[in-house]
Amino acid sequence: MTLVLVLAVASCGGSGTSNGERKAQELSGAGATFPLPFYNVVFDQFSGVNGDAVAYGGIGSGGGIRNLRDKIVDFAGTDAFLSDKEMEEMAPVIHIPTCMGAVVLAYNLDGVESLNLSGEVIADIFAGAIKTWNDPRLTALNPDVNLPAGAIIPVFRSDGSGTTFVFTDYLTKVSPMWASNYGTGKSVNFPTGQAAKGNPGVAGIISQTKNSIGYIGSEYAFAQKIPYAKIMNQRGELVEPTSTTISASASGEIPADTRTSITNADAEGAYPISCFTWMVIYKEQNYSDRSREQAIATLDLMKYILSDEAQDVTSKVHYAPLPAKAKELSMKNLKTVTYNGMAILKD
């Protein structure tokens, strides 16, 4: 008995609302909760195109990758791209970036409406080195704010999470202390504070706990109306996470397979804890008795997400659209996807 969350993989067509090319399919995916609010809207719109239904389980990036490895889903959602080692362990996959987002530092402080933080200060808070809100290093960053004397309660993720990966990737880049003691990962041994499951769990704890601070996907902070901090970027600017500042982080080079970290970007106006979030699919789509039509539907979904119609949704739900370069590379990558060794998309 393996403890696997079995997501039903539909192998046959659904309602049969065909557009002449193929029957409507039921696609299933699982993974990151971070882009879930964006996906909910996009999947809903996508179902209007060809009647394809998409079931997406927000079980965390780690869980999504595991489901893909177990070949029980059509795609996995992840905020942490697969490492070279992970790529070697599975059949060839491609990463399709779907949108950009920000991990925000959300806090719950009585009477504090704006808070400035720097990377090193965040690292020291989560490492337990800065213990109270009126620590001199915090008051130095926030000269106009009356910070309380209470103990800081860091809140982090108890499950494996792409959000944790992005956050610790940032801390590793900006703090040598963090890099040598804790490092980057989907699960990291935070020394202090308390943990909750999923982005919604962390958001819930923060909104219910005075003097707490935690990292969550920006949409979750918006949804629960939790304030979040401005963060000092590499250029020394204090930046708030918005579609523009997130996009500014991706102005640099993007590798051909789109596996890149854009945290702590050296660009003007860039929000430093920005990230891509990806869908991962197998290059060879014939696995676990999937039909050719299902493979085509999977690619249709990817193409739809890269389309302007879907990308326009991003900023409405507090994410940011993909840069043109990323879309271009992804279309190229989609053309390498095969069914029984034959390319599915024609040039």
């Binding site: 008995m1 108890s158 494996g160 041994n189 308390q194």
Partner: protein, 285 residues
């Protein structure tokens, strides 16, 4: 012919349960084997490291065993002052009365509330109280989880205890009264000694319930992988670490989580066995 068929169906149905149970144990052992082999059984039990660093993974069950035992024992402690009076109220003082039947119905109702509801109540109602009273700054922790667990196990302890208290023979009680004993003396000197092992066993069964409780504990314990240093500190129980991490775990971590599941299974089995044995003894006497 009919009789034979009936017996066959009965036989198959009865045999299925031990087979399923055996299958569960078998699966737990085979899947947990990697972790035990890699870390050694006793080191796994006594190590407090839970570190994911790739290549240098270290998993030990001690923080979670402590978390589980601590929450369970505290829950038991908090539950006694409420469940024992209810048991005596229903089983002795107001035996058979209307008030008693209402009280026992209400208590039993507590057992039917889904654990997520207890979790929500703990999270939104009890946690702010703990914070306001300055007991702990974050509100979550061993204490909060134990308090809610205590309420959850009250019906298990109270109903069964009341049954055992009711079973104390009237002859015994009446002879004590005829010798001039007061009600309190009857309770102390007759009911307790006679129903004692029955009451004890009902608490054992309540413990069994508290040990495995997952949802409520996960929502309230704080989910940190350290050995709790005080009752207000955060921690993780065996059930909550599994609930938190099995989703993305694989390889050694998955095996370690299953090993924790196996240990929890064994602890629960032993405790239930003790309970059953005590009930048997109570019935015989």
């Amino acid at each position: 012919m009919n009789d034979k068929l009936y017996r066959t169906i009965l036989f198959i149905a009865a045999l299925t349960i031990p087979i399923v149970c055996g299958g569960v144990v078998y699966a737990l052992i085979t899947d947990a084997y990697d972790a035990f082999e890699h870390f050694g059984f006793f080191r796994f039990l006594t190590s407090s490291e839970w570190s994911y660093t790739e290549g240098a993974e270290q998993y030990g069950a001690l923080p979670f065993i402590t978390g589980t035992l601590l929450t369970t024992l505290l829950a038991l402690l908090f539950c006694i002052p409420f469940s024992l009076p209810v048991a005596f109220f229903v089983g002795e003082y107001f035996k058979g009365s209307r008030v008693a039947s209402i009280l026992s119905t209400v208590t039993d109702l507590l057992a039917g509330i889904p654990s997520i509801i207890y979790g929500l109540w703990g999270f939104y109602t009890l946690r702010p109280v703990i914070i306001t009273l300055n007991i702990s700054p974050q509100g979550s922790g061993i204490l909060t989880a134990s308090l809610v667990l205590a309420i959850m196990i009250v019906p298990y302890a109270a109903s069964l205890s009341a049954e055992f208290i009711k079973m104390v023979p009237n002859d015994l009680k009446e002879s004590a009264y005829s010798l001039g004993a007061t009600r309190a003396e009857v309770v102390r000197k007759i009911i307790f000694p006679v129903a004692g092992s029955g009451i004890f066993s009902s608490y054992i069964l309540a413990i069994g319930r508290a040990l495995g409780e997952t949802m409520t504990v996960t929502m309230l314990i704080g989910n940190t992988n350290n050995i709790p240093t005080s009752i207000t500190s955060t921690g993780n129980s065996m059930a909550s670490i599994i609930a938190n991490q099995f989703g993305e775990a694989d390889g050694l971590r998955l095996s370690s989580l299953i090993a924790i599941g196996l240990i929890l299974f064994l602890i629960t089995a032993v405790i239930n066995m003790i309970g059953k044995m005590m009930i048997k003894r109570a019935r015989i006497s």
